[in-house]
């Protein structure tokens, strides 16, 4: 299983973080930080009213870790190589869940638990790869 640390709010226009962007990924059972996961926050004694609420945890049991580990390799969305001697232009949020397309039930779960479990089909339909400009469903041919 793969767990995705997902940005809850948009910080600004690209390349800044957008709501739904995958910030980090982890293998199932990853010990998320107490300010990353509501469950970790509460387990550490934090009050629910004080939860900073910056992230969601989206779990996809069908996503195998070795394959999705690649999602964590950089958040590179595009590369500007107009001058080979210049550093590469990078953007964050290469992978992003389309939160705006989630069902009411999915959004309710996120609102209450700040976490959600999706099957592979649903996850791939929502997951955008900005570098290739397509949903994972299309990229994987599913």
């Amino acid at each position: 299983m793969t767990e995705y640390l997902v940005k809850r709010t948009t910080n600004g226009p690209l390349p800044d973080w957008q709501a739904g962007d995958v910030v980090q990924i982890g293998q199932d059972g990853k010990a998320w930080g107490r300010r990353e996961s509501l469950a970790s926050w509460l387990a550490s004694g934090g009050a629910s009213a004080d939860w900073p609420g910056g992230f969601y945890i989206i779990r996809v049991p069908d996503h195998s870790w070795p394959a999705t580990n690649a999602y964590g390799e950089g958040s590179v969305s595009w590369v500007d190589i107009s001058d080979p001697d210049d550093p590469m232009l990078m953007a964050q949020g290469r992978f992003s869940f389309a939160l705006s397309e989630m069902t009411a039930q999915e959004l309710d779960a996120l609102a209450v638990y700040y976490s959600l479990t999706l099957d592979e089909t649903r996850a791939n339909a929502l997951l955008l790869d900005r570098k290739h400009g397509a949903r994972m469903t299309a990229l994987l041919g599913a």
């Binding site: 980090q24 300010r35 609420g53 992230f55 590369v79 964050q92």
Partner: protein, 557 residues
């Protein structure tokens, strides 16, 4: 603008990666805040990162990234700079917090050139492995940004340059850093539109750079100052399109800009190891790096927190001769240990936190100049001046031979102990808190064994010679025992249930007040009795319930 501190690590921290912590801008903290990320080395392994972009802080807030004091969850040190001078100086996740990125065409830390962000990174290690990857592409830095004690390694033969730069000619720095790369077609640090000062850094291209690459290159309006730096494996010299100030650097090239440089060196003769796999950035004693840096530009401390001596070493690491300046000049984290011979100046000049140990011979000046926290020990031969010049916290111990000046010149907290031979001047110059103990031979020629206050249940035993054994106050239930010779045994107040036992010689045994239930026993010998007052045993007021049991002598008439 608020000061915000958050933790980063793998076990029970606020954030599990640096990237996640920085992504929290906008929710957990905002760009106007002064944010400090304290990093923990929880498992001795690097934290895997994606490319991280620090947002535009708008010239108002700041971001500081540094190790937390002490160790991580499994006891690994957080700060690689505490590894000690006896350990290879290279990227090592076991030695301190480290970040690793496997992505290509990316840098771990990015600051867009449209930003004005004050970024400070201290004591952190970075590693990249992929093509056109690098540790930093920081182009939008604000004044006051700096790198200190950072180690980076880029293992790809096509690793990229760094940028550590400001878009607005702001003064930024890099000092005490080690940058080593396997790149064969890229230099290291580049800057543009920056007033960049690089001092005592070590740049090594382990594979050599066949193209015209430089260790430093400053852009159109940049001012570049390069002092006391090592530059090995590059085939071009630092350049600047604006001003360039270089001095006291070391290079394998035949020529180098500036003055007082060491040139045409063989890198393997200068550093312990210049290969990628076994890199060790410590300067060799037999090379040209020691003693050839400029004191004007050298930071006081090197990458390991060692105090640079009067003839500093070129590069991030200060080579100190055995028994040179300071063994440890910074903070010793909890459960740390310093052992072996540390001579000359200070053994530990900074703070020793809880459960730390400093042993062995420490010559000349101070053995521990600062605070010994709770449950700390300092043993061995402490020579010359002060053994402990500052505070010894609760349950601290200072043992061994302490000669010359003050043994403990400051406060000994509760349940503290100072034992062994304490010579010369004051053994303890200030306060001994409750349940403290001072034992052993206290020999003083002219000084005071205890000049301050002994709190309740304190004890002082052993041979107390010469001048005043107790010049201050002895609180309730205190004990002063042993041979007290010469002048005043106790010159101050002895509170309730205090006792002074043993041989008390010459003049006053107790010169002032003995409070209730106090006891003064044993042999009291005086000299030169007068014909009218042959015995001067107690020249003080004796309050209720005080017992005096002794044999009183006088010289035969």
């Amino acid at each position: 603008m608020a000061a915000v501190t958050r933790s980063v690590g793998k076990t029970g921290r606020d954030y599990s990666s640096l990237g996640a912590a920085i992504a929290a801008y906008g929710t957990d903290f905002v760009t106007g805040d002064d944010v400090t990320l304290l990093e923990y080395n929880d498992d001795g392994g690097a934290i895997t990162e994606s490319a991280i972009t620090i947002p535009d802080l708008g010239g108002v807030g700041s971001l500081t990234i540094k190790p937390a004091p002490g160790t991580g969850a499994l006891g690994h040190p957080n700060d690689h700079r505490t590894r000690g001078a006896g350990t290879a100086l290279r990227y090592d996740p076991a030695a301190g917090v480290a970040h690793y990125m496997s992505a290509s065409f990316a840098s771990i830390i990015n600051v867009a050139n449209t930003s004005t962000s004050k970024v400070i990174i201290e004591g952190i290690q970075f590693r990249t492995t992929a093509t056109r990857s690098a540790a930093f592409t920081a182009q939008g830095l604000d004044v006051g940004s700096y790198l200190d004690g950072v180690i980076t390694v880029d293992e790809s033969s096509t690793a990229n340059n760094y940028y550590w730069s400001s878009p607005a000619n702001e003064a930024i720095e890099a000092r005490n850093c080690i940058f080593y790369t396997a790149s064969t077609d890229r230099g290291r640090m580049r800057c543009a539109y920056t007033d960049l000062t690089v001092s005592n850094c070590t740049f090594v291209a382990t594979a050599g750079s066949p193209q015209a690459c430089t260790s430093l290159e400053a852009g159109p309006a940049a001012s570049l100052s390069l002092y006391n730096c090592v530059s090995f494996g590059f085939d071009a010299v630092p350049t600047s399109a604006n001003t360039l100030s270089v001095s006291h650097c070391a290079t394998d090239l035949a020529t180098f800009p500036g003055t007082s440089n060491q040139t045409s060196l063989t890198p393997g003769d200068e550093l312990e190891n210049v290969t990628l796999a076994s890199f060790d950035g410590r300067a060799k004693s037999t090379g040209a790096l020691p003693d050839n840096a400029s004191t004007t530009y050298a930071p006081t401390l090197d990458i390991l927190g060692q105090t640079r001596d009067g003839t500093p070493t070129i590069g991030a690491y200060e080579y100190l001769t055995a028994g040179g300046a300071v063994a440890i000049a910074g903070t010793m984290a909890a459960v740390s240990a310093v052992s072996g011979a540390a001579s000359a100046a200070r053994s530990v000049a900074g703070d020793i936190v809880a459960a730390s140990t400093a042993t062995a011979s420490a010559g000349v000046a101070r053995a521990a100049y600062a605070t010994l926290a709770a449950a700390s020990d300092m043993a061995g031969s402490l020579g010359r001046s002060r053994a402990v010049a500052a505070t010894m916290a609760a349950i601290s111990t200072a043992t061994g031979a302490v000669v010359r000046s003050a043994g403990v010149s400051a406060t000994m907290a509760a349940a503290s102990t100072a034992t062994g031979a304490l010579g010369r001047s004051r053994a303890i110059a200030s306060t001994m808190a409750a349940a403290s103990t001072l034992s052993g031979a206290l020999s003083t020629f002219a000084g005071t064994a205890i000049a301050g206050t002994m709190a309740g249940v304190s004890a002082m035993s052993g041979a107390l010679s010469r001048a005043t054994s107790m010049a201050g106050q002895s609180a309730s239930s205190s004990t002063v025992s042993g041979a007290i010779i010469r002048a005043a045994g106790v010159a101050g107040d002895m509170a309730g249930t205090a006792s002074a036992v043993g041989a008390i010689g010459v003049r006053r045994a107790v010169a002032v007040v003995m409070a209730g239930v106090s006891a003064l026993s044993a042999a009291l010998s005086v000299s030169r009795p007068s014909s009218t007052q042959p015995y001067i045993t107690i020249r003080a007021r004796v309050s209720n319930r005080v017992a005096i049991i002794a044999r009183l002598f006088r010289e035969p008439s």
